[in-house]
C-alpha cells in the first residue's frame, strides 16, 4: 500500500486561528459564554438594592456598578450582555421598572458607549453620546431654568474623554497596560462614561414619559451628583480589582483584543 504521510511542515503552514469580530461563538470578539455569565451577574446585582431614589419606592441597585465597568471588561459586547441582563431583571423584578418594557435601554446604552470608547470606536460612541444629549435638550421640559445643569457633571466628563484624543488614548493605555497607579483615574473616566450613558438615557426617558419639571430636578441635583460620584468611585474600585484579577488569572476579557502585541 502506497501511503504517504503529510509533511510536518504542512501543519505548521496553517495560519493560527485569528480572532475576528464575526468568529463563531463570539460577539464583538467576546465569547458568548462570557456574555451570558455577565448577564447572569447583572441580574444577581439587580436584586441588591443600594441607594434610594428620592420620592420613589424604587432603589438604585448594584447593577449600576456593573453597567459602569462593563465597557472596559467586555468592550462593545457589554451592550449585549447588559441588555440581556436588564431584560431578565425587568422580567424578574418588574416592580422597579419605571419605563416598563423599555427599561433595558438604560444599561444597554451605558455599556455600549463605554465599550465602543474602550474599543477606540470613538466616532460611533461620540455620535450615540451626542444623540443622547440631544434627546435631553430637544424636550421642551429641558428648556426650563437651569435644566442644562442636570446632565452636565458626568456627561461632561464622558464627552471630554470620547472626543479628546490624547485623554482617551491615555486612559485606554493605562488600562491596557495595567499601570498600577494611573489605572485608577483611567477607570474613573471610563466608569464615568458608562454611568453617564446610563443615567442620561434614564433621565431623558423620565422627561419624555413623565415630564418631570425643573422643580424636581434642580433641588434633587446635589443628591444625584452625590449618588453618581458614589457609584463611579465604587465602580473604579471594583473595576480595578476585576481587571487586575482577570489579567493575573489569564481569563478572557476585552483588553485581550485591544492590547498591541
Amino acid at each position: 500500500m502506497n501511503q504517504t504521510n503529510p509533511p510536518e511542515n504542512n501543519i505548521e503552514a496553517k495560519p493560527a486561528p485569528v480572532r475576528s469580530w464575526q468568529s463563531r461563538g463570539r460577539i464583538f470578539g467576546i465569547p458568548v459564554s462570557l456574555i451570558a455569565i455577565w448577564a447572569a451577574l447583572f441580574v444577581a446585582a439587580s436584586a441588591v438594592p443600594a441607594l434610594p431614589v428620592p420620592g420613589m419606592g424604587g432603589m438604585i441597585t448594584v447593577n449600576a456598578i456593573m453597567t459602569a465597568i462593563s465597557g472596559v471588561v467586555l468592550g462593545p459586547a457589554a451592550a449585549v450582555a447588559n441588555m440581556a441582563g436588564a431584560i431578565i431583571a425587568t422580567i424578574l423584578f418588574p416592580f422597579g421598572a419605571f419605563f416598563g418594557p423599555i427599561s433595558f435601554l438604560t444599561a444597554t446604552v451605558g455599556g455600549l458607549i463605554a465599550g465602543l470608547t474602550f474599543a477606540n470606536r470613538w466616532k460611533l460612541a461620540g455620535a450615540i453620546e451626542l444623540l443622547l444629549i440631544a434627546s435631553w435638550f430637544v424636550n421642551p421640559a429641558s428648556w426650563q431654568p437651569y435644566m442644562y445643569l442636570v446632565p452636565l457633571p458626568y456627561t461632561g466628563i464622558a464627552v471630554l474623554v470620547i472626543f479628546i484624543k490624547p485623554l482617551r488614548e491615555w486612559a485606554r493605555n493605562q488600562i491596557l497596560t495595567q499601570n498600577k497607579v494611573w489605572m485608577w483615574p483611567a477607570l474613573f473616566l471610563f466608569a464615568s462614561i458608562g454611568h453617564a450613558g446610563e443615567y442620561l438615557t434614564s433621565n431623558s426617558m423620565t422627561n419624555w414619559m413623565y415630564n418631570l419639571t425643573w422643580q424636581y430636578w434642580i433641588p434633587t441635583l446635589p443628591y444625584w451628583i452625590g449618588v453618581d460620584t458614589v457609584i463611579v468611585v465604587l465602580s473604579m474600585v471594583v473595576g480595578v480589582g476585576v481587571l487586575i484579577g482577570l489579567h493575573r488569572a489569564r481569563l478572557p476579557h476585552a483588553s485581550d483584543l485591544y492590547i498591541k502585541k
Partner: protein, 268 residues
Amino acid sequence: MADVGYINQDSFLHRLDARTKLILMLAILVVVLVFTDPIYVIAILFLVLGAWKLAKLPLNMVGDIFKYFTGIAVIIFVLQAFFYPGETNLLQISNPIPAIGFSGYITLQGVMYGLALVLRLVVIMTVAPLLVMTTPMSDLMLALVKFKVPYRFAFILTTAMSLFPSIQNRAELIQQAQLCRGVGDFESGNFFVRLRASASILTPLILGAFRDSQILDVAMSSRAFGAPIQRTFLLESHFRQADYIFLAGSCLSLVGAVILRIMHLGVV
C-alpha cells in the same frame, strides 16, 4: 426587591401566544404614551385591569406594585398641578412666586395633565407583570427566537436565566466569607457601608463567574455552538384565531391612537 413569576392558571391570556402578548404589551405602551387626557388613559387602565382579572391573577398584587411608585406618583401629580401652565384657574394658593415658576393658581389643565401622567405610570407598571405572570419563561424565549432575534442572543438570555440562581448562591457564600473576614456589614449600617460591602462581593463574584465561563465555553464549543445549521426546537408555538384577533386589535388601536392624536383628541 420583590420578584414575580409565572402563575399557572387556565385563562384566555395564558392561552395566547407569547408573541401576541409581547406585541400587545408594546401596543399598550405606545398608546398610553400618545394620550395626555386622563379619560383616555383611564380607559386603557381599565382594559389592563380587566385583563388582570380575566387572567385570574391576584388583584392585591396591583396594590403591592402601587407601593413602589406612590412617592413618584405624588411628585408627578403635585409638580403638574402646581406648575403646568393652564388656563382655567381652580384654586388660588398664594400670590405668584416667579422664583419657583408658580403662578399662584392650581389649574384644571394642570390637575388633568398630572392625573394623566400618574395613570400612565400605573398602566406601564401593571402591564409588564401581566405578561410575566401569564407566560412561562420558555415561551417568552421561544417568542424572541420566533421574532428572529439572533439565536445567540436568545441563548444568552436562557443561559443567564438558568445561571442566575447559582450566581446568587455564590454571592451568598462570598458574603459569608467576607463577613468572616470582617470586611463589610451587609445587614445594618448606613447605605454607604452597605454599598461598600456589596462592592466587596462583586470583585470575587465576577472573577469566579468568569472562571466558570471557560467551562461553559468548552461545553459550547464541543457541541458546535454557532455552526451554520438549521436549528430545530423542542417547543413550538403557533398563532391561533384568538392571536390573530388580538394582533389585529393591537394594530387598529395603534393606528386609531395616532389618528386621534393628529385630530388633537385625547390631549389636555
